[in-house]
């Protein structure tokens, strides 16, 4: 077999990035792909260490003869600093060695820097498959990112347009304002009821937000039970609720309803091994109290009635009274 394997044709085909050198480190032949990387460098006849810096895993100075059998990390001393992987083996019954190189992770940059084609790699080399994977992965990644951005903005938009308060399932302010305008436009007779929870803050402070959330859900349940299907209930602040009660304008009936609601809110709400105790204050205005009811005026007046409930010692329901509350 007398070194037929060292015929340039063999090495160039199977290892297009090899270096054949002698015991002095003088280069005798290099593969065509390696040659393509430095067209102006006179490889043959030069010393290996003049052209390359070669380190092994010890990451020593890179001086001295190139170690055989070891994982090598190689760079050109000049020009584009492409990082190469390599391995060197001695050729038996000669003073020659073969150093074979490949790109490793620098493959993507190298292909761009040196304008390689498929023909520059051995047919058995995985380089092309690697490039293919990287390209495919990048395309998929790009699509995934675009999809994520689209989903995120869709989500923001959906939240913007949502009409439900996430926590309680009641309507939110936006939906409430729409319903309010709708009621007024259709000249429906109705009552506007403002309800603030009392002592809710102390539940939050002493038992934590989770307890607060549980209380709000229970409160919403009670409100749904104490009102009718056609009524509109919304949570418009942390512990602020508003009601539109259709065709219900009798002060007696409204105050009865409000007091029943407050009584139920005062029933202790269990949370883990504690009980949460809250109450509510209510203020009410009805369309009957105005010649031309507007949302702004009714809200203002229901708030005035609510404040007198709070001033009166909480847990009260108050009808707006133009004589009592005017001039404020």
């Amino acid at each position: 077999m007398n070194n037929t394997i060292l015929q340039p044709e063999f090495l160039d085909t199977f290892m297009p990035m090899h270096v054949l050198y002698d015991s002095e480190g003088i280069i005798l032949h290099i593969g065509p792909t390696l040659e393509k990387m430095r067209r102006c460098v006179p490889f043959v006849g030069s010393s290996l260490s003049d052209i390359f810096s070669i380190h092994d895993d010890g990451r020593g100075t890179g001086e001295g003869p190139v170690p055989h059998h070891a994982k090598l990390y190689i760079k050109f001393r000049t020009g584009i600093p492409t990082q190469l992987k390599g391995m060197a083996m001695p050729v038996r019954q000669s003073d020659l060695s073969v150093l074979n190189l490949s790109f490793g992770i620098s493959i993507v940059d190298a292909v761009a820097d040196y304008r390689f084609t498929a023909g520059d790699f051995a047919h058995t080399d995985l380089a092309i498959e690697m490039l293919y994977l990287v390209e495919a992965k990048s395309a998929v990644l790009h699509e995934t990112k675009q999809l994520n951005l689209r989903l995120q903005s869709a989500r923001f938009a959906a939240e913007e347009q949502a009409s439900t308060d996430m926590l309680t399932g009641l309507r939110n302010r936006r939906a409430f304002d729409q319903a309010f305008e709708e009621f007024l436009r259709r000249r429906t007779t109705f009552a506007l009821m403002h309800l603030d929870l009392d002592y809710f803050k102390s539940v939050n402070d002493s038992l934590g937000h989770a307890a607060g959330d549980a209380v709000l859900r229970e409160v919403a349940k009670i409100m749904n039970e104490e009102t009718r299907e056609e009524d509109v209930i919304a949570r418009i602040g942390g512990d602020e609720f508003v009601f539109l009660l259709k065709n219900l304008t009798s002060p007696d009936r409204l105050l009865n309803m409000a007091r029943r609601l407050i009584a139920r809110l005062e029933e202790p709400i269990p949370f883990h091994d504690a009980f949460c105790r809250i109450s509510g204050s209510v203020g009410i205005a009805t369309t009957e109290q105005y010649r031309h009811p507007t949302a702004e005026k009714m809200s203002h007046d229901a708030d005035l009635a609510l404040y007198s409930s709070k001033r009166g010692g909480r847990a009260l329901a108050t009808m707006f009274d133009p004589e009592l509350h005017s001039g404020v």
Partner: protein, 197 residues
């Protein structure tokens, strides 16, 4: 910071300390959402706020938080993928250490905008190893200590690791003392990701 990194922090906190702890962290950090998406990018300050609040919530120094995070990334069953990718580094712990020189390049092949620290591992004359770590986040060297400690267990190596401080340039130095390369069995690893046997 890449969503992957933020997501890792979130998973670490929720898997280790529970969802409620994570909610307190996001609340106090002023996040307007509960979950990080792995494939989105976030402002760096957001990540720093979350880290600071998490350390405060758990009452530990940020350094310890980072180290525990590093250990978690490699050892938690939910993140088997990361352990596997690191095991591609080599057949023993020393090879693994040297493969960390390529970690940044390898990671960038997969996710070009992922902020992976630049690592340099050298073998010193006295037989110890020195890692120089330059990250986009100060303290990331502590996370690397956690990663290497868990990987040593994985390979069955007995090591002594120490964060040896910072250089003026911002690089962190970690010393690695390999006491015994095959101290225990270590964990099984096959190149093929499909369950074998």
């Amino acid at each position: 910071m890449h969503g992957m990194i933020n997501r890792a922090i979130q998973c670490f906190v929720t898997d280790t300390y529970g969802v409620q702890t994570w909610q307190r962290v996001t609340d106090s950090a002023g996040l307007e959402f509960a979950n990080f998406e792995p494939m989105l990018n976030y402002r760096d300050q957001l990540t720093l706020d979350v880290l600071g609040q998490a350390a405060r919530e758990l009452k530990k120094p940020v350094e310890t938080f980072f180290e525990d995070l590093g250990t978690y990334l490699v050892s938690h069953p939910n993140l088997e993928a990361i352990r596997r990718l690191l095991r591609f580094g080599g057949e023993n712990f020393v090879e693994f250490l040297f493969s960390l020189n390529d970690l940044e390049g390898r990671a960038k092949l997969a996710l070009p905008d992922l902020e992976v620290p630049s690592l340099k591992v050298e073998n010193l004359k006295d037989g110890t190893f020195r890692m120089t770590c330059m990250g986009t986040m100060p303290g990331v060297g502590y996370a690397m200590v956690g990663v290497m400690r868990a990987m040593a267990d994985d390979y069955g190596a007995l090591v002594f690791l120490e964060h040896a401080g910072w250089k003026d340039s911002g690089e962190e130095i970690i010393t690695i003392n390999l006491l015994e390369a095959t101290y225990s069995e270590g964990r099984q690893f096959e190149l093929a990701g499909r369950a074998v046997g």
